[in-house]
């Protein structure tokens, strides 16, 4: 739910659901009201019909009574009872149907009284007929006619029917308005829901569009990155090739140098002259095998020892003041002497010719090379 668009859509759908619930509740309530209204309309219709039947039952009972008086047969007496039963049923139903209408109560009571009078009249007439008293029957019927019962029933029934018709019209209008309200409620709710759904749809569409745009930008950035990576990879590969070539050349150079050094060493080691490499302080740093061969000293015994411990110049240093070897090295020049002596392991001296060559590194004297050549014994 961190995505605001989802929050908005959920809120919209919640609103749609709320509207749906409200519409459903209102519609159900309206349907219940419409059903109740329809029941009232039906009830009023039933009351109007039943009032018509009641009037008919009054007339039928009157006619049956007069027929019985005239004919005097048993079947007509039964018919008379049936019409009274019908009248009683009609009256019972009318009473029930108009029970809720207080204004109609006096009229219904009057109809009740008239029906009771009709029942009493019928009973009295039947009794008089059975008792063979035709004058009494005639008197009863004349009294009934004079009382105008039938006309009064007609008036009361018509009045009640008129009232019921007015009620029917009012209830029908109410039902119509109820239906209109239901239509309006449902229509408005559905329209509102469509608007909300449209809004939700627009939000989704807008979000999808934004996401597509973001995806396109990301794709473009990825493409650019890939191009850069490809370019950088190509550069690295090129540099790697150059390095590999340089390494190869360097390896070849190193190999050539090693060969050169080995050849130089072979050359130095193969000559029979005694070769000493000196430091600037005239200490021995290297010798060739000819030194060991002539003196009997091993390399490790001579390294770092001063040359003067092994070699004595023939002039004894008399050629000038100070050390002539140090002077030659300082001045960076060769120094030769026709005769010098080198001591062997047993202390014997061997006559040699002496040559010193300064060792230079970038025009700076860092040491020297001494070559002693043995002189043949005469």
């Amino acid at each position: 739910m961190k995505d605001p668009i989802i929050r908005r859509i959920v809120a919209l759908f919640a609103a749609v659901a709320a509207v749906l619930i409200v519409v459903a509740v209102v519609a159900l309530r309206n349907v219940a009201r419409a059903t109740a209204g329809s029941d009232w309309v039906n009830q009023t219709h039933a009351a109007i019909l039943e009032l018509g039947s009641l009037r008919g039952a009054f007339l039928a009972s009157d006619a049956a009574l007069r027929t019985l008086v005239v004919s005097g047969v048993e079947q007509d007496e039964a018919a008379c009872r049936e019409t009274m039963a019908d009248l009683s049923e009609n009256l019972e139903v009318v009473r029930a149907l108009l029970r809720s209408d207080a204004a109609a109560a006096p009229a219904v009571e009057r109809l009740d009284a008239l029906a009771a009078g009709r029942a009493k009249l019928t009973r009295d007439a039947v009794a008089a007929r059975r008792g063979g008293r035709p004058d009494e029957i005639r008197a009863l019927l004349l009294a009934d006619t004079a009382a105008g019962v039938t006309a009064e029933v007609r008036r009361i029934v018509e009045k009640l029917k008129t009232e019921q018709m007015a009620l029917l019209a009012a209830r029908d209008s109410q039902a119509y308005l109820q239906a209109q309200t239901t239509r309006w409620t449902v229509g408005t709710g559905v329209a509102f829901n469509f608007i909300l759904l449209g809004l939700a749809g627009w939000l989704v569409w807008d979000d999808v569009r934004a996401r597509r745009r973001a995806a396109a930008v990301l794709r473009e950035a990825n493409d650019q990155l890939e191009t850069k990576v490809r370019e950088r990879t190509a550069e690295l590969a090129k540099a790697n090739d150059v390095l590999r070539a340089e390494n190869l050349e360097r390896a070849w150079g190193t190999q050539a140098l090693e060969h050169q050094l080995r050849y130089n060493e072979l050359i130095v080691n193969s000559i029979t002259d005694l070769v000493f490499v000196l430091t600037k302080a005239q200490n021995i740093s290297r010798i060739n095998p000819a030194v060991t061969h002539v003196t009997g000293f091993e390399t490790k015994e001579l390294v770092n020892r001063p040359l003067q411990e092994l070699v004595r110049l023939g002039s004894g240093g008399r050629a000038g003041p100070g050390d002539p070897l140090a002077q030659a090295l300082r001045e960076g020049r060769d120094y030769r002497e026709a005769e010098a002596f080198v001591k062997d392991r047993n202390g014997r001296e061997v006559a040699v010719s002496f040559m010193l060559f300064p060792l230079r590194d970038r025009d700076r004297v860092v040491g020297g090379v001494v070559i002693l050549r043995t002189l043949s014994v005469a």
Partner: protein, 176 residues
């Protein structure tokens, strides 16, 4: 020979047989009428006429059911339901079974319809079977000897149920 062996028409059910059937229940009673036909009549037919002719209407059926079941110690109530645009329909409610017998259900396996005991509940269920609205419902009595319907309590649909005259209908025990 074949004519002699062929089964003859089933002998008509009689009122006596119904009254003497010790095992008679509302359902068993209704099962006897599965093959009866419908024919409307303004008056209630005498029981034997209805049984012999094997045709009648809801009044004939309900009145006969009430007569027979009362003989068997049940507490039947005759109910008249008035619906919009239709002839009033009669059923026989049997308090012990908490169900009513309806001539329209005589052909079905479920030939007694369970219902609450109040007139409003019965009328609602009956009207539902017609897919119709009822307007009023009455309880009535009838005896073959008197041949006259006597209407008692009437309930109107639009009245508040709380004010129904039969809002406390009699239970089976109380009815006995």
């Amino acid at each position: 020979m074949a004519i002699l062996l062929a089964p003859g028409p089933a002998s008509a059910l009689t009122l006596r047989e119904l009254l003497d059937d010790k095992a008679l229940t509302p359902k068993r009673f209704a099962s006897h009428f599965a093959e009866f036909d419908y024919e409307f009549g303004a008056d209630v037919l005498p029981a034997d006429v209805f049984l012999t002719r094997r045709k009648g209407d809801c009044d004939d059926y309900a009145v006969l059911a009430g007569h027979v079941l009362r003989h068997h110690g049940q507490t039947p109530r005759l109910i008249h339901v008035r619906m919009v645009g239709r002839v009033a329909h009669a059923v026989c409610y049997v308090t012990e079974a908490k169900a009513y017998l309806d001539y329209n259900n005589r052909k079905y396996a479920i030939n007694v319809e369970r219902s609450g005991a109040s007139l409003r509940q019965i009328a609602t269920q009956v009207a539902e079977s017609f897919k119709a609205n009822w307007t009023s419902v009455s309880e009535f009595t009838y005896t073959y000897e008197e041949d006259r319907k006597r209407f008692g309590v009437t309930v109107v649909k639009t009245d508040s149920p709380a004010s129904d005259p039969d809002r406390n209908p009699p239970s089976a025990k109380a009815a006995r």
